[in-house]
């Protein structure tokens, strides 16, 4: 069994002739929490979709547990996805189902467990995210942070080997952010899973992940442990970590010379 549960080899992907990824290589070691960071529009979420087999690469491959994702048929892909759990940016809870039913959904779909056992599992997962008492609520009655935690309970309902998080901190207050950071780490270690966290929140992420990839303009520009990256003198990493407006990632969208444009009227 390979040390890496997910491997991305020489991956290229793009939409409508525009390349988003240009030969990306990454590996995700079993049991680790790995962050993929980069600016908005750098293709981080797309990477998760490529790992989940929702998109097919133009070149290269994504391997999950030794299997090349884009070569799988429908059954093979569904078998791979049973090893994965994914937390979407805004939770993606089913709005017509209660919190309880949302968490029970994957269990009902993939097992024939009796109702009493499903209840035990659901309550266990909801307890892990601190929302056992909210099991009767509907998704519309939850705050953003609570919805994210319910979605997390649903993502880990079947104890997946890989848990993917798409912008888990977006729009959360500092308390909820701390809770979610803590949960990601605790759940990963308790389940013995591998977590892939797509985010651009540097300080929260550096506090709990084991390894970080920085993606910019379609390539991996830096990688390392949070400590290594904090000390890095690479201009991109420095700009990103310190939140500087201008640098290798320009503040201005590419445009003609401002002075010439003004003179032209």
């Amino acid at each position: 069994m390979s040390d890496n549960i997910v491997e991305i080899n020489n991956l290229s992907f793009g939409y409508k002739g525009r390349l988003l990824h240009k030969g990306i290589n990454m590996s995700f070691q079993r049991g680790k929490v790995v962050a993929i960071m980069g600016g908005s529009g750098s293709g981080k979420t797309t990477l998760l979709r490529l790992i989940g087999g929702q998109l097919k690469p133009i070149k290269g491959e994504v391997k999950v547990d030794g299997a090349v994702v884009h070569e799988q048929g429908r059954e093979g892909l569904f078998n791979l996805r049973r090893k994965m759990g994914m937390l979407f940016q805004f939770g993606a809870l089913f709005t017509d189902l209660s919190v309880y039913e949302n968490v029970a959904f994957p269990i009902r779909e993939h097992t024939d467990l009796p109702e009493s056992m499903i209840r035990d599992f659901v309550m266990l997962k909801l307890n892990a995210v601190g929302l056992r008492g909210a099991h009767n609520l509907m998704p519309t009655e939850l705050s953003g942070g609570m919805a994210r935690r319910v979605a997390l309970a649903r993502a880990v309902a079947l104890d997946p080997q890989i848990i993917m998080y798409d912008e888990p901190f977006a729009g959360l207050d500092p308390i909820s952010m701390g809770v979610v950071c803590n949960l990601i780490r605790r759940l990963n270690d308790a389940l013995g899973a591998t977590s892939i966290v797509v985010t651009h929140d540097v300080h929260e992420t550096f506090s709990f992940v084991d390894y970080v990839y920085f993606v910019s303009q379609g390539v991996v520009v830096a990688e390392g442990t949070p400590d290594e990256l904090r000390k890095s003198d690479m201009p991109f990493v420095h700009q990103f970590v310190h939140g500087e407006a201008d640098g290798p990632v320009p503040f201005h969208y590419p445009a003609a010379d401002y002075k010439l444009e003004m003179l032209r009227g």
């Binding site: 569904f78 805004f90 809870l93 089913f94 709005t95 994957p106 779909e109």
Partner: protein, 263 residues
């Protein structure tokens, strides 16, 4: 001049190709739904829930409309028939109009407006809020879990709604013709019973309503599933559901009637 002509031709060509593409994508989705129908049948609770959403919740608008349509038929029918001294035939006129044409067609139009738009908006929003993607990532097919039960529910609901429409429509016609105008009640019912043929009229009406049910539900499902994941995308898809369903129902009604009537 030349460039505007060129861009117009290019636009027409683009729309044509887009139309063909949509037709193909719709056909493919229909095929997938058929593949997953077996799974849906094994989970009747999902179908019952959708029958409630599409059928039961459409009942009020359909029954009220049916009663008014029946009353108008009664009034218009009596007005014309009395000129020829055959006002007792009002029951036949109301029943045949409803069972053969108005029942299936008006029900389908109302169904598209009430249930079809609800289906499109719901599925479009599920896509926009990544609920369908979440389902895919949980190794659950959205076609099997979301679309196929709704399709079955629509196809089951439509003939029942059309039958109820015709029944209530006849009662509306009766209400105007017998208590209000004073046509003989016995003549109203007996002429209707003698003239409405089970095979030629009722079965043909049911066939029409099943076809309309398939078409309206399929259009609603496809438009929702294919909707761009934005507020504008969902709103446009909802509008398209009503427009395409209405045109399809009226066009198909002519084609089916042409096959059913032996001229």
């Amino acid at each position: 001049m030349f460039s505007s002509l060129k861009s117009t031709i290019a636009k027409i060509g683009h729309n044509f190709i887009e139309g063909i593409w949509h037709l193909g994508a719709g056909g493919r989705l229909f095929f997938y739904i058929l593949v997953y129908l077996g799974d849906s049948v094994r989970r009747p609770s999902l179908i019952v829930r959708e029958i409630y959403a599409t059928g039961v919740l459409s009942l009020l608008i359909i029954l009220v409309s049916a009663f008014f349509v029946g009353m108008v038929l009664g009034l218009q029918g009596y007005n014309t028939l009395q000129k020829y001294g055959s006002s007792e035939a009002i029951g036949v006129l109301v029943a045949l109009s409803l069972v053969r044409e108005l029942g299936p067609v008006v029900t389908a139009l109302l169904f598209a407006g009430r249930a079809g738009t609800a289906i499109t908006a719901e599925i479009g929003l599920m896509r926009a809020t990544e609920q369908l993607s979440a389902m895919e990532m949980m190794a659950v097919s959205p076609v099997g879990r979301v679309l196929a039960p709704r399709f079955l529910a629509g196809v089951i609901s439509m003939p029942i709604l059309a039958a109820l429409f015709s029944m209530i429509g006849v009662l509306g016609g009766y209400f105007v013709a017998v208590p209000l105008i004073g046509v003989d009640s016995g003549a109203f019912w007996s002429q209707m019973q003698a003239s409405v043929d089970f095979r030629e009229d009722i079965v043909n009406g049911v066939i029409k309503s099943v076809v309309f049910g398939i078409v309206c539900t399929m259009i609603a499902l496809f438009e929702g599933y294919d909707a761009p994941p934005t507020a504008e995308g969902v709103s446009r898809a909802t509008t398209r559901t009503v427009v395409y369903s209405s045109l399809a129902v009226l066009g198909l009604d002519f084609i089916l009637t042409a096959f059913m009537i032996k001229v």
